[in-house]
């Protein structure tokens, strides 16, 4: 699975993107976020308040119950502030 991080999520996690092998029990966005939190203090800090984390799967906004699989591109980022 390809993971992308933007803005302060990228800064806290320390990288902009990575390829990961997720465990079999990770089936949806909520499961993915829970697993990521366990991967280190940067992840835990970035994902401490999920109210300010948005998720896109394959470049479309999704909700926590959206399924994720090994071929997906999953992006995590704060609420957008362009324009």
């Amino acid at each position: 699975m390809r993971l992308l991080y933007f803005a302060w999520l990228r800064a806290k996690i320390g990288i902009g993107h990575e390829e990961v092998e997720v465990p079999d029990h990770v089936r949806d966005v909520a499961g993915l976020l829970a697993w990521l939190k366990s991967r280190g203090p940067g992840y835990a800090e970035a994902l401490a308040d999920l109210r300010v984390v948005r998720t896109a799967v394959n470049q479309a906004y999704v909700k926590p119950d959206h399924p994720v699989g090994r071929d997906d591109e999953v992006a995590l980022f704060p609420p957008v502030t362009g324009g």
């Binding site: 933007f6 479309a60 704060p78 362009g82």
Partner: protein, 153 residues
Amino acid sequence: MTIRVEAADFDPGAELAALTRGKPGIGGLVSFVGLVRDLAGETPIAALTLEHYPGMTERQLGELEAEANRRWPLDATLIIHRVGRLEPGDRIVLVAVASAHRDAAFDACRFLIDWLKTRAPFWKMEETSDGPRWVVARAEDDAAAAHWLEHTG
């Protein structure tokens, strides 16, 4: 129906002229230019850096343009959004909409910038005298975008 995401500045006059050229059915052209302000609240801002999600940005903006064209009879639309480091007074974004009728052009232009601000994956980092900080999304922007869910102009 043009979308561009780029670091370079744009020329609003040239863009607007190109948008209407050769289309004599256009009666009204409404544009919005967003500029970097020198203050965020009361904090002086030295510069902004705009980051985005390449690919998803263009996809989201394309969906917004398609939605605007479903809602209003439009002759031309244009969205240009800059990325990278910008200073106060610099242009950030141009949204322009041309239509036979001004009401459609006004409504569609406002719809596009309202939704761009809440859906297009851009993020601003401000340089202040206290160091850099990420801009926090505004509740007013969510409200402005939500307005269009109930309202078709």
